[in-house]
Amino acid sequence: MRPDQDRLDRLSLTWRDPPGLWGFLTTVDHKRIAARYIVTALLLMFLAGMLALDMRWQLSTPENVRMGPQLYNESFSLHGSTMLFLVSVPVMEAMALWLVPLMLGQRNMAFPRLGAFSYWLYLGGVLTLWISHALDITPDLGWFEYPPLSGPAYAPGHRADIWAQMITFTEVAALAASVNVAATILKMRPPGMTLARMPVFLWAMLVASIMTILSMPAIMLVTSMLIADRLVSTHFFSPASGGDVLLFQHLFWFFGHPEVYIIFVPATGFVSAIVETFSRRPLFGHSVIVLAILSIGALAFGLWVHHMFAVGLPRLGNNFYTAASMAIALPAGLQIFCWIATMWSGRPWLATPMLWVIGFVTTFVIGGLSGVMTASAALDLQLTDSYFIVAHFHYVLVGGAMFPLFGAFCYWYPKATGRMMSERWGRIAFALIVGGFNLGFFPMHLLGLMGMPRRVYTYPAGMGWEGLNQVATLGSVVAVAGGLVFVANALVSYWRGAPSGGDPWGGSTLEWAGEAPAPSWNLAYTPMVDGLTPMWNGGRPLRVADGVAIARREVLITSVTDADPLYRQKSASPSIWPLLSALAVSAMFIASIFTPWAIVVGAVPIGAALTGWFWPQRPRRSGA
């Protein structure tokens, strides 16, 4: 069914944002919000990458004086906190915000204003950390700030508070985004897309969202306890008076380990989508991959203790968590084999997104193998806090999540902009980043085995570490140069790229059904799904249904398992209240670093803003 122009005009009128700045501040368009999220995260990735380059400069020669110990501590703390809390997790959520409604053929997320609130609050966390940095109040205790080092006695001032409160910001933002994604996937699938016909990407985002909902409260709790210890002298982490510093580590890693998978599981969704499209065949072992993702989601909550082998645990604890850590290699391995089988049995097309997937598979497998090594408690005791660990987690996080993200960026870029990125510069960026990354981080395995500890600002000459450190620095320079090529390619293609059309790759899932760049209302009709690859149905046009209003904002709600249409739901219109609410929450969070009364006083503007947000807009019907 081809939509006529009148219908498109009416949809555009219904779903448009107010013009200008007001529209910018009030929009609830999931694509605009997600694009902001992604651009902010990429900007931060650049800044934190510059910090990394600076640190590599410092370590390139022994007893270098580019940095002193304090500046080095601040640099790696800011680098780690930014990359983990402000880049990796938010950018994955942003991809979900952008893609989930498109892939469901829906007009918006389940809670459009919650998406806007999530972004503004995330921005509050970003500004908290980086404005503090500009004011020389940079957190300096690493990306996990263990007490008692971060407690009131050893971390005077507000550096640790800034870190803890930045986490509160990003975690509230992440919870808002995750609830939104999970509700959208469970209740807004198009008719026919039963759970069994759900693309792997949506499964990955659903599992990651549920993991976020289950794990984030732990870290919000623990950083709030830390702030309470520091601000009002509670004794949660004071062993001398019955507190327990290990409680911090347990609660932190009860979030911190699932977080790794909250970053990695969406990446498996990207990889599955890219592998399917570029192998020109339906994914091999769809059910296996979905079950693997589900089991990773479950297992991820049972192995946080492997971050704590060195703190001294009962023998049985070490054994259990070693076994659990090794067990997670099974589902991860199954996924890898399924992707390889898909490529093997398909007709692979080595466009840049596919290249990134191949870069991911090779790099991530190395990271996975060093992960199996460090999973062993006995070996971990030797390797922990050495450069081996630095190498390992960069291999899994950069190789396992960032490479798929870059591939996903290239893959969905035409959908977002209507233009293709340059393939040639894409290949150059790929070669520089993957080559530079491996050149930079592989030597760190060896440095770690040679005894170089992590988090040292310099090392004496004659340790035998000079050569490998210089190679590592060289690799980082190459990778950063590749990153600049990648960004330049994206920027130039935005204006100069070849027009892509709606479906340049011949993709298999519903986001390719519409125009590019995707209009504010996404698809003109509600699609009907009868298989795993709705866009590959033997050349038949996509079946669609009408019935969802076009004169007012409306979305279709369906049942959880069978996606049977249930009812039509009003979809929220643009509003300034999410921004005002986020401002009120930000003011309360910032002030509560300085005085506990901020929580009491700050609750008033928050309450006022939320009241405005939820003010009823429809008259009550009698009997309803």
Binding site: G68, P69, Q70, L71, I131, A134, L135, D136, I137, D140, P148, G151, P152, A153, Y154, P156, G157, H158, R159, D229, V232, S233, T234, H235, S238, A240, S241
Partner: protein, 168 residues
């Protein structure tokens, strides 16, 4: 914001103003956050001698810096000051009142260094630590008893006056 590094911190403070003159917003933000309050410069100390008068420029570097004050708090435990100067101790020994209130930096410094008779802290405690102790004592008004107790408990496993068994 520029870091002072190994250079003289007071030069760095002058440097801020010169450097940020175009960016008034940053100067303002800097003033609000009390420039250098959180700085933690690990290098040669400026405190090699006792303070010279109330206007000694080094005073601000200690009194206005949370890390120096916190170090003073540690040494307060290390040297056993709390043995006599605790809450409710008689007269000027009382931590909650005592001579620190309103007293200027050189006066408090002198009373720590020279006001303890035979203990003669001026010869037994390095100058930098005396500066930090002075800054801590003058800052005590802002430390609630709960906060002092909380910090003391965290530091209890360190070698302090009562538990110190000599150099290891």
């Amino acid at each position: 914001m520029a870091r002072s590094g190994l250079g003289s911190p007071d030069q760095a403070v002058e440097g801020h103003v010169a450097q940020w003159r175009p960016g008034r917003v940053m100067v303002l933000a800097c003033l609000i956050s009390a420039c250098g309050k959180e700085a933690r410069d690990i290098g040669p100390t400026v405190a090699q001698t006792a303070p010279v008068g109330k206007k000694d420029p080094r005073i601000a570097l200690f009194q206005g810096n949370v890390w120096q004050i916190a170090q003073g708090g540690r040494y307060f435990q290390y040297y056993g000051c709390a043995g006599c100067h605790h809450d409710g101790a008689p007269g000027t020994r009382d931590l909650a009142d005592g001579l620190r209130r309103g007293a200027d930096f050189p006066a408090v410094f002198a009373s720590i260094a020279h006001g303890h008779g035979d203990r003669s802290y001026a010869t037994r405690i390095p100058d930098e630590q005396l500066w930090q102790l002075t800054a801590y004592v003058r800052d005590l008004e802002r430390h609630t008893p709960q906060k002092r107790r909380r910090q003391m408990l965290d530091q209890r496993s360190e070698p302090q006056a009562a538990t110190w068994r000599g150099p290891q």
